[in-house]
């Protein structure tokens, strides 16, 4: 069974987690065009690579970030989201 590390609960079977997708930064909805917004909502870099993704440990509802290689399905790092601080 594949194991993922929850930043709060430690190593757990992957079936306890769900995947939310790569983290994207929205444009400012007040000033962006409809087209920029649709680009944000729908389009993505669908090619394989190392991606930062939102995951959730569902029994504890812990949301966190995973850095994962989507070609080899290797989980490189998991940590709590820092709110997008630079």
């Amino acid at each position: 069974m594949k194991i993922m590390t929850c930043p709060i609960n430690g190593e757990r079977p992957i079936s306890e987690f769900y995947y939310w997708g790569a983290i994207k930064t929205p444009p400012n909805p007040d000033i962006c065009s409809d087209e920029e917004w649709s680009d944000y909502v729908f389009n993505k870099n669908g090619a394989p690579g190392i991606k930062k993704e939102f995951w959730c440990h569902s029994p504890s509802n812990t949301w966190f970030v995973a850095e994962r290689d989507t070609l080899t399905d290797t989980i490189l790092k998991t940590y709590l989201y820092d709110g997008g601080a630079k």
Binding site: K44, N45, G46, D73
Partner: protein, 412 residues
């Protein structure tokens, strides 16, 4: 073993012609370059040559013919989709399937079984009625049936289905299965006979453009000049699009399937349960061909997991408890190219001369003939065929998504 085979084994000559010839080298230029030797790419090459007389065409396949999703799918063919654009498109495909074996002079083992989408909840019954009405409106054979009818056609079924009693089903009499690799070979041979070159083990590494127009293709076997390129690469589509810096909503999740050991024939229909997320049919060899929903997260490989047969078997035993002693023979996966609205992305792109046939996810095998035909039209005329205008990539920009999820979400 047939005697013919033994004779070939003993002789050094192989008088039996190959399905298609294997040219040594690429020509310096082609009128059309098709990336991907799956059913879709080969069908497009076939119709380009047959219907439009465009024969200076090459199909480039990085592995072997049909080694992608074409040879990994569970071969369900049906047209009982939910949206008018979907239903009409897939129904045209169903029509084309009918005489393909004759046209190719190759037995595709096209086998008409009847297709049930089982409903275990009121909501599922409601969707069944909705689909039946849309289908009937377009002349598609589709009706809502009760549990007795299901039992009559699949006597081994447990209508109680664990905690999910079957309330009825959407029944689609034309539902069929076919032999997938024969479809790729049939189109490949037909295209090749008309002059199309098929290059296996030839990978596309880059696409060159000049002033927003396609001008050439870099491959592992050299450079080709061309002004028209089609990508029909299913699970590898985002990698091809990356070469051109095109972002689309396409995302890749694996879709898995498995077969049991061969059994005597006992199931001659195709059964799908949206609530249990499983489907099953019995192949002409007697194996039970079984599938479920997509894997839950993005992965770009064809790895299998143990979770899959475990989960699928648990649900299957609710429906057919007598299968508990039956062994699983093989499991595998394909990379499904999914879109947010469960409809393909077909047609022209913002780069002149670059055409896309993708987003076929879990449901594109049945569309092989019609997508080949409509993409050939689109490439020959540089104008989308009327059956595919609703599937253009522009629909996302214009917030005009199709609503096909209800009819396509369990992978087949």
């Amino acid at each position: 073993m047939p005697w013919r085979l033994l004779r070939f084994g003993l002789s050094k000559k192989h008088p039996e012609p190959r399905m298609f010839d294997a040219p040594d080298a690429l020509k310096p230029s082609y009128d059309v370059v098709i990336i991907g030797g799956g059913g879709h790419g080969l069908a497009c090459a076939y119709y380009l040559a047959r219907d439009f007389g465009i024969t200076n065409v090459c199909v480039l396949e990085k592995g072997y013919i049909g080694g992608g999703n074409t040879g990994r799918n569970t071969t369900i063919i049906r047209s009982n989709y939910l949206t008018p654009e979907g239903a009409q498109f897939y129904d045209k495909s169903l029509e084309l399937w009918q005489d393909l074996s004759t046209e190719f002079d190759l037995n595709l083992f096209y086998s008409n079984r009847g297709h049930f989408t089982l409903a275990h909840t009121d909501a599922a019954m409601r969707t069944s009625r909705w689909r039946a009405e849309v289908n009937k409106h377009y002349g598609i054979d589709s009706e809502v049936v009760g549990p007795e009818f299901v039992k009559k056609h699949a006597p081994m079924i447990n209508l109680q289905c664990g905690h999910h009693p079957i309330m009825g089903a959407l029944y689609h009499a034309p539902g069929s299965v076919a032999r997938h690799d024969a479809v790729a070979w049939g189109y490949g041979r037909g295209a090749n006979m008309r002059g199309v070159e098929i290059h296996q083990r030839t990978e596309v590494l880059g696409i060159d453009t000049k002033g927003g127009k396609v001008c050439g293709v870099k491959t592992s076997k050299g450079y080709i000049e061309t002004t028209k390129v089609l990508s029909a690469t299913a699970g590898s589509t985002p990698r091809i699009l990356k070469m051109l810096d095109i972002d689309t909503p396409i995302f890749i999740h694996p879709l898995q399937a498995m077969v049991s050991e061969p059994l005597k024939p006992w199931l001659d229909t195709i059964l799908v349960s949206g609530s249990l997320h499983i489907y099953i049919s019995q192949s002409s060899r007697g194996e039970l061909v079984m599938g479920a929903s997509l894997d839950p997260y993005e992965v770009h490989s064809t790895r299998s997991t143990l979770d899959f047969p475990e989960g699928l078997s648990a649900q299957m035993l609710d429906m057919f408890p007598f299968l508990s002693e039956v062994k699983v023979m093989r499991q595998w996966a394909g990379m499904a190219d999914m879109t947010p609205d469960f409809a393909p992305i077909m047609g022209k792109t913002r780069i002149d001369g670059f055409y896309l046939d993708a987003g076929w996810g879990t449901y594109g095998f049945k569309a092989t003939p019609v997508s080949g035909k409509t993409m050939a039209y689109t490439i020959a005329n540089d104008k989308p065929h009327e059956l595919i205008t609703a599937f253009s990539s522009e629909r996302f920009k214009n917030y005009e998504l199709t609503g096909e999820k209800g009819a396509a979400s369990v992978g087949h």
